[in-house]
């Protein structure tokens, strides 16, 4: 171990943050770029399934809440791309990786939002799951990532609440609304559990990420934590979680739950989910349609600068 590596390791051991210009192992940098950008892409792609319902939100209050939420996701994507950029990569390059399919994003967003209650379920379950992961990441060893996560967590606290509030309205509503809510829970429950990633034994990056203190808890621990807090919330709503094996285990002090369909998980990761193609195409289209706009703004500034310099 040379002295740079030693200094890096000492910082990790002392719970000091690694900052952009500090020496870091190349693999640490790469891992961070991969993870942070994947996270950023998830925020941006995640805008689509929910954005889909902005024009159809059923009340003024819901419309504004949803719009503000989806906007936050754009903001969170932006904070995260900024964090990645401190590692010496440009946002444009990260976009290229997303658009060419090299970079991944959270598979959950490859499922369709086919009813209004899906928006409630996403806020409640998907944001609920995401928050667990993100709270952990506020303690990540890389400073800019941890700071972005602090800001994101502060802002996200309303997301899950707006989702759950929506579910409460539906669960207390007409028969049709209750049915809608249950149907959404049925479809979103398992994909939400998959969000924590493969179980520890199968997860390729987990061990290293934990050693580097980028991640602080294992996928399985986070998943268990999520199930434990979510079950009572479903009970409150009077909705049934679609898992016959779900049962409180007195001895473990946790809920036992059924086996996740990992074949489905890997298929969606590979690109065979219901909306993979569509999501990516939409992102690419927005980016391409914006090219002339970005170019015009830059050209205008350059002209302005030239004019000033000649004065």
């Amino acid at each position: 171990m040379d002295k740079f590596e030693q200094a890096f390791q000492n910082k990790l051991d002392n719970e000091e943050k690694i900052e952009p210009k500090d020496w870091m192992p190349e693999k640490y940098r790469k891992t961070l770029i991969r993870q942070i950008s994947q996270h950023a892409h998830s925020e941006i792609v995640g805008m689509l399934p929910e954005g889909n319902w902005i024009t159809r939100a059923p009340s003024m209050r819901r419309k504004i809440g949803l719009l503000a939420k989806v906007q936050d996701e754009a903001g969170h994507g932006l904070y995260l791309y900024s964090a990645a950029e401190t590692l010496g990569i440009d946002r444009a390059e990260l976009f290229d990786q997303l658009h060419s399919g090299i970079a991944k994003y959270s598979s959950i967003f490859n499922y369709p939002t086919i009813s209004w209650s899906d928006i409630g379920a996403i806020g409640w379950l998907v944001d609920g799951a995401a928050i667990m992961n993100q709270v952990m990441l506020t303690r990540a060893s890389y400073g800019p990532y941890a700071r972005a996560m602090v800001r994101i967590c502060k802002e996200e606290s309303f997301h899950q609440r707006q989702g759950y509030e929506m579910m409460v309205s539906l669960a207390n509503g007409t028969e049709e609304q209750k049915e809608m809510a249950q149907d959404s829970l049925n479809r979103w429950w398992w994909p939400s559990l998959m969000m924590f990633g493969p179980s520890n034994a199968e997860s390729t990056h987990s061990a290293q990420s934990m050693a580097w203190k980028i991640k602080r808890k294992s996928n399985d621990d986070l998943r268990q934590q999520f199930v434990d807090v979510t079950v009572p919330q479903a009970e409150y709503l009077g909705l049934k979680i679609p898992d016959d094996k779900l049962k409180w285990n007195e001895e473990r002090g946790h809920y036992d739950f059924g086996e996740i369909n990992w074949d489905e998980f890997w298929e969606v990761v590979k690109g065979n989910g219901p909306c993979n193609k569509e999501r990516l195409e939409t992102r690419v289209k927005a980016h391409e349609n914006g090219a002339w706009v970005r170019e015009a703004a830059m050209a205008y500034s350059e002209k302005l600068n030239t004019a000033v310099n000649h004065k």
Partner: protein
């Protein structure tokens, strides 16, 4: 193809008057005017600021962390710069 991407800017916010500007994050903008507007739209959505500074990231000059030892450590043993270095009679209260 795009000729040139919007450059990166650093954003500093004063959260209320009386406080320093603090680094809030960064963003892309074509020029300084747009950077200010974008900073307003991105970083003050929840009333986080009453004043904004932006500066193009490439214009920030930073020290080299590999030379931190010579840069910062010489200050660490100059305890005579701190009030506790000096002994005061116990009887005196307001000094």
């Amino acid at each position: 193809m795009e000729k040139k991407n919007w450059p990166l800017w650093e954003v500093f916010l004063r959260s209320r008057s009386g406080l320093h500007h603090v680094h809030a994050g960064s963003l892309h903008a074509a020029d300084s005017e747009m950077a200010l507007n974008n900073a307003r739209d991105v970083y003050t959505r929840r009333n986080e600021g009453v004043s904004i500074w932006v500066i193009e990231s490439k214009n920030i000059i930073a020290n080299d962390p590999s030379e931190s030892e010579s840069f910062f450590e010489p200050a660490s043993d100059k305890i005579y710069r701190h009030p506790t270095f000096y002994e005061m009679p116990n009887e005196l209260k307001h000094i």
